[in-house]
C-alpha cells in the first residue's frame, strides 16, 4: 500500500532531512525534501505529493506559515499535512490545528512510528 505514496518533508536541519529520507524511503515511500516553508511552497506550486510533513521552527517561512499558505489555496485544502516537531505543548498544537494541520508527530520518531502516522492520514 505504501508504494507510490509521495511525501514532501520540510525541515531546515540537514540531519533531520537525511534521517527522514532514510526512514521514509526504508518504509517504501517516495520522498521529496525542502529546506524551509518558502522552498516547499515554490516546489509544491509545480509538483504533487500525497502528504506534507513539516517542521515548525524554520527560517524564512515557518511551519505554521507554510500550513496557512497551503490551506489558503484550493489545491492544497484537502492535502494531509503532518507537523513533526520536538515541541508538544497544547498551545502549539492548537496553533497548528488553527493553521490547518492534519496531525502532529513529536520528534524523535522511529521509522515504524512515522510510517504508522503517515498511513493514519493517507486516504
Amino acid at each position: 500500500m505504501s508504494r507510490n505514496i509521495r511525501i514532501l518533508t520540510v525541515d531546515d536541519s540537514p540531519s533531520m532531512r537525511a534521517l527522514l529520507r532514510h526512514s521514509l524511503t526504508e518504509q517504501g515511500f517516495e520522498v521529496e525534501q525542502a529546506e524551509d516553508g518558502e522552498i516547499a511552497l515554490s516546489w509544491l506550486a509545480s509538483n504533487e505529493v500525497d502528504l506534507v510533513i513539516t517542521d515548525i521552527n524554520m527560517p524564512n517561512l515557518d511551519g505554521f506559515g507554510l500550513i496557512e499558505e497551503l490551506r489558503s489555496s484550493a489545491r492544497h485544502a484537502e492535502r494531509p499535512i503532518l507537523v513533526l516537531s520536538t515541541e508538544s505543548s497544547t498551545e502549539k498544537k492548537q496553533r497548528a490545528r488553527n493553521a490547518g494541520a492534519t496531525g502532529w508527530i513529536v520528534k524523535p520518531f522511529d521509522a515504524e512510528k512515522l510510517a504508522v502516522a503517515v498511513r493514519r492520514v493517507i486516504h
Binding site: 536541519s13 540537514p14 540531519s15 533531520m16 537525511a18 534521517l19 529520507r21 532514510h22 521552527n57 524554520m58 527560517p59 524564512n60 517561512l61 515557518d62 505554521f64 506559515g65 496557512e68 490551506r71 485544502a77 484537502e78 492535502r79 494531509p80 499535512i81 520536538t86 515541541e87 508538544s88 505543548s89 497544547t90 498551545e91 498544537k93 492548537q94 496553533r95 490545528r97 488553527n98 493553521a99 490547518g100 494541520a101 492534519t102 496531525g103 502532529w104 508527530i105 513529536v106 520528534k107 524523535p108 520518531f109 515504524e112 512510528k113 512515522l114 504508522v116 502516522a117 493514519r120 492520514v121 486516504h123
Partner: protein, 745 residues
C-alpha cells in the same frame, strides 16, 4: 547515505548550532540582546535536542532538554536574564559542547548533574515553569509518565503520544493498570466527529479504521441526526459511534488516535457513557477542552463526567469561528522577526561540500593554470602572438581560479569564535577576567590556514592571560582596570594576513627572561642582546618563564611549538612588548597555501620566482643611483630613499651574476620585518601565476626557499622566500656569497 553518515551531518549541524548559540549568548553578555537573539539561542539548543533524540544520545538529549526548558522561560520572559544567568547559560553551553563531543566520539558524557541542578534551580528560583514546554506537555500528555521507562532520563518529552499505540501493545505494566481495574470488560469508546474533522485533509473514517485495527468493534452507530437529503451538508458530521475496544489494546492507545483531533471530535470513554451530542449549525465548533477533558477523564480511570460544554463552547467559538485570523495575527507578527533573525544567522551558511572534493577542484584549477601557461608558451614558440582566444582563456581561467580559491576562503571569525570559551575557562581557573575585543573578524583566508591556526592561537591566548595579564589586585595597583583586555585583530597586508594578539598586561619581564635563558644555557652572561632578541628567547625550545608550571600554559609545550606551527604555515611570529603596558604577538601568514602570482627572473642562468606580493617595483639603475656603503655593500637611491642591494647570484651559489647593478635589473621588494631591499637579477622574463609545490615533501626544506614550482616550459624553478632571505642578509654583516666583483666595486 547510511545512518552513520546522517549522524555526521547532525554533528556538523551541532557545531553550527553551538556557534550560533554562543554568538547569541555573547551578545547577551554584552547586554545587546533582543528577542531574536534569545530565539536564535533557543533554536540552536532546540535543534541539537531534536537530533540528539533522533540519534539516541540520551544524556545529550536530557541535558539539552533541561537547558532548553530554561531558555524557553527566558524567551517567554518568565525568567529574567540577569548577568549571572547569562554566565550560567554560557557555562551550560560549554558543557553542551562537551556533551556533543562525547556523543560524537562515543565517550562517556560529561558530568552534568551539577549543572542540571543549577539550571533547574535557576528556572525555579525565577518563578519560571509557567507555560513552559515541558510543563504544558505534561498536562497535554497525561500518558507520558506511564510510558516513561526506567532508562529514560528525560521527563517524557521524547514520547510520541500520537504514535504510542505501537508501544502500548507491548504492554508495560503501568499503563495497563488503569484498564485492568475494569477487569476484562472492553473499553467503551464513544465518539462523534464534527465538521472540523473533515477539513485540513482529515478524515474520521481513518480513526474508525484505527479503532478497528486495535480490535475495536462497532457497538452502536447513531444515525438519528442524519437530516433529509435536501439539508444534507457533506462536510458536517451527522454520525456518532460507540466502539468496544479490547482492554488489551490499552486506553491510551485509543486516546492517542484522537490526540490531534482537537475540536474535530468529541470523545468520551467509559461504559456508562453515551455518544456525545452533535454540533450542528452555529455550534459546529466544539470545545477543544472536551477532548482534553476526556483525555484527563480517561486518565482518572474513565470516571463518568460530561464536560461542561457551554463555557468551553462560548470560548471556542471565538477562537475557531473567527477562523484563524484573529488568533493568527500575533503569531504572524512573532514569526516575522524570528524569520529575519534566522535569515541573518544563515547568511554565512551555504551548502556543505566534502572538503576533499573541493580540494580536488582546486587542484584541477591549479593544473589548468599551468596547462594554460604551457599552451601560451608553446604558441609563442610557434610565433603565434596576439592570439585573442588565448587572452580570453587567460581571463577565464584567472576568474575561475579566483572563484575556486574564494570557495576555500573563510572568515577568520571561525577561529575567533572559539576564543570566548577559552577565556571563560581561563577566568574560571585563574580568576582573571578578560574582556575580548575583536577587529576584522570577516577577514578571509584559506580554510587550511584557518584550521591550522586554531591551535597556536589558543596557545598564545592562554599564554597572554596566564603570563601577560595581571591579577585584578595587581592591575588596580598599577592603575589599570580590574579586567584585562585582549585584542584580536586580523587584516590583510601585503598579500598576507596579519593577526595581532595583544594584551594590556605587564609586558615581558626581560630580566626574568634573560635570567631564565641563562639558567637554561640558551645565552651566555656576557651576551649583549637587544630587547627584541630577549623577547624572542621565549620562542627558544624548552623555555618557560612561569615560576611554577601552571596547568594553563605550562603544559610542557612551549612557545617554540607555537612558532613551529606558524612556520609550518609559511608564516612568521613576532613580539612587541612594552613593560607595564602589554604584549602583542603578531602572526603574519600567507592567505593561501596553493597559488600565487610571481615574477620570473633569471639569475646566473637559473629561473627563480619572486612572489609578486613582495614586489614593489623593478628598475634598471643608473650609475648615480648606486652608492657604496662600507666595504662590501651597495645601496640604491630610489627617490631619496636608500635601499640595500642584494645580488641574488650569491643566493643561487653562483658568482656569475651581473658585475654591477647597472648591468642587471633591480627588483625592489617589501619585506615584513626588514624593510625594503633591491634584489639584483640578470633579467625579468615573465610574470605569471604559480602553484607552490612544497620542497619538504619532494626534497627537503632549504632556508630562503619557499618552495618550487613548475614553469610553463616544464622546468622547475625555486620560489624565493623573500622575507627570510632579506632578513638573513641584513642581519649578517657580509652578504651571502657576495660576488667578488661587487666587493671590489
Amino acid at each position: 547515505m547510511n545512518l552513520d553518515d546522517i549522524q555526521n551531518v547532525f554533528f556538523v549541524e551541532c557545531e553550527e548550532s553551538l556557534e550560533a548559540a554562543e554568538a547569541g549568548l555573547e551578545t547577551c553578555k554584552a547586554g545587546e540582546h533582543d528577542t531574536e537573539t534569545i530565539n536564535a539561542i533557543f533554536r540552536g539548543v532546540h535543534s541539537i535536542k531534536g537530533g540528539a533524540g533522533a540519534f539516541g544520545h540520551a544524556p545529550l538529549q536530557a541535558f539539552t532538554h533541561c537547558f532548553e526548558t530554561l531558555l524557553a522561560d527566558v524567551r517567554e520572559d518568565a525568567v529574567e536574564l540577569t548577568p549571572e544567568l547569562v554566565d550560567l547559560l554560557l557555562h551550560a553551553l560549554d558543557c553542551l559542547r562537551d556533551h556533543v563531543d562525547a556523543a560524537r566520539e562515543g565517550r562517556d558524557p560529561p558530568n552534568d548533574a551539577d549543572l542540571i541542578k543549577q539550571l533547574t534551580e535557576a528556572q525555579a528560583a525565577n518563578g519560571g515553569a509557567a507555560g513552559t514546554e515541558g510543563d504544558a506537555e505534561e498536562s497535554d500528555e497525561p500518558t507520558a509518565t506511564a510510558e516513561q521507562g526506567p532508562d529514560s532520563s528525560d521527563d517524557g518529552l521524547d514520547l510520541d503520544a500520537l504514535l504510542d499505540d505501537l508501544d502500548a501493545d507491548a504492554g508495560d505494566g503501568e499503563s495497563g493498570d488503569a484498564a485492568q481495574a475494569d477487569a476484562a470488560l472492553p473499553i467503551c469508546v464513544h465518539l462523534r466527529p464534527h465538521a472540523p474533522s473533515m477539513i485540513n485533509g482529515g478524515d474520521p473514517l481513518l480513526w474508525l479504521r484505527e479503532l478497528e485495527l486495535l480490535g475495536g468493534k462497532v457497538a452502536k452507530c447513531d444515525t438519528s441526526f442524519v437530516p433529509q437529503l435536501d439539508d444534507f451538508d457533506p462536510a458536517t458530521g451527522y454520525l456518532g459511534w460507540s466502539f468496544e475496544v479490547p482492554v488489551e489494546a490499552g486506553e491510551e492507545a485509543v486516546t492517542d488516535i484522537f490526540d490531534f483531533a482537537g475540536d474535530g471530535c468529541s470523545l468520551v470513554i467509559g461504559e456508562g457513557e453515551a455518544i456525545p451530542e452533535p454540533q450542528l449549525g452555529e455550534g459546529q465548533s466544539d470545545a477543544t477542552e472536551q477532548s482534553d477533558a476526556s483525555a484527563k477523564q480517561a486518565d482518572t480511570d474513565g470516571e463518568a463526567e460530561e464536560p461542561s460544554e457551554t463555557d468551553a463552547k462560548a470560548e471556542d467559538t471565538d477562537k475557531v469561528d473567527a477562523p484563524a485570523k484573529s488568533a493568527q495575527t500575533p503569531v504572524a507578527k512573532q514569526a516575522a522577526p524570528a524569520n529575519q533573525a534566522a535569515r541573518q544567522s544563515r547568511e554565512g551558511q551555504s551548502i556543505r561540500i566534502d572538503l576533499a572534493k573541493l580540494d580536488r577542484l582546486i587542484d584541477g584549477v591549479s593544473e589548468l593554470v599551468i596547462a594554460q601557461a604551457m599552451l601560451a608558451q608553446r604558441l609563442s614558440a610557434d610565433d603565434v602572438t596576439h592570439c585573442e582566444e588565448l587572452t580570453m582563456l587567460d581571463g577565464l581561467i584567472r576568474d575561475m581560479q579566483e572563484r575556486a580559491m574564494a570557495i576555500r576562503a573563510q572568515p577568520i571569525g571561525t577561529v575567533f569564535n572559539r576564543i570566548p570559551r577559552v577565556l571563560r575557562e581561563l577566568a574560571n581557573s585563574t580568576g582573571k577576567h578578560v574582556k575580548l575585543e575583536l577587529v576584522g573578524e570577516s577577514t578571509e583566508l584559506d580554510k587550511t590556514v584557518i584550521e591550522m591556526l586554531s591551535e597556536p592561537m589558543t596557545h598564545l591566548i592562554r599564554n597572554a592571560v596566564d603570563h601577560g595579564i595581571e591579577s585584578a589586585e595587581e592591575r588596580l595597583a598599577a592603575g589599570k582596570s580590574a579586567d584585562g583586555t585582549l585584542l584580536l585583530q586580523a587584516e590583510h597586508r601585503g598579500g598576507r594576513i596579519v593577526i595581532r594578539i595583544e594584551d594590556d598586561g605587564k609586558g615581558i619581564n626581560r630580566e626574568v627572561v634573560f635570567a631564565k635563558a641563562l639558567e637554561k644555557g640558551l645565552v651566555t652572561e656576557d651576551q649583549q642582546l637587544s630587547d627584541e632578541e630577549i623577547d624572542n628567547l621565549i620562542f627558544a625550545p624548552g623555555f618557560s618563564t612561569a615560576q611554577q608550571v601552571s596547568n594553563i600554559s605550562g603544559r610542557g609545550v612551549g612557545m617554540d611549538v607555537v612558532r613551529q606551527h606558524v612556520k609550518e604555515l609559511g608564516g612568521r611570529i613576532t613580539i612587541e612588548s612594552q613593560p607595564g603596558k602589554g604584549t602583542a604577538f603578531i602572526l603574519a601568514l600567507p592567505l593561501t597555501l596553493a597559488i600565487s602570482d610571481g615574477m620570473i627572473v633569471q639569475v646566473a642562468g637559473q629561473s627563480l620566482v619572486i612572489p609578486l606580493a613582495h614586489v614593489v617595483e623593478s628598475l634598471r639603475p643608473t650609475a648615480d643611483q648606486i652608492k657604496g656603503m662600507g666595504t662590501d655593500r651597495q645601496m640604491l637611491n630610489v627617490r631619496e630613499t636608500f635601499v640595500p642591494i642584494m645580488p641574488l647570484a650569491g643566493f643561487v651559489g653562483s658568482g656569475s651574476g651581473p658585475a654591477q647593478p647597472t648591468d642587471g635589473v633591480l627588483v625592489i621588494v617589501e619585506t615584513e620585518n626588514s624593510g625594503q631591499a633591491a634584489l639584483l637579477v640578470d633579467e625579468i622574463t615573465d610574470q605569471r601565476q604559480f602553484v607552490i609545490k612544497s620542497l619538504d615533501t619532494h626534497y627537503r626544506s632549504i632556508e630562503g626557499v619557499a618552495g618550487a614550482t613548475i614553469l610553463g616550459n616544464g622546468q622547475v624553478a625555486l620560489i624565493v622566500d623573500v622575507d627570510r632571505l632579506v632578513q638573513e642578509a641584513a642581519s649578517s654583516s657580509v652578504m651571502p656569497n657576495t660576488p667578488a666583483e661587487v666587493v671590489a666595486a
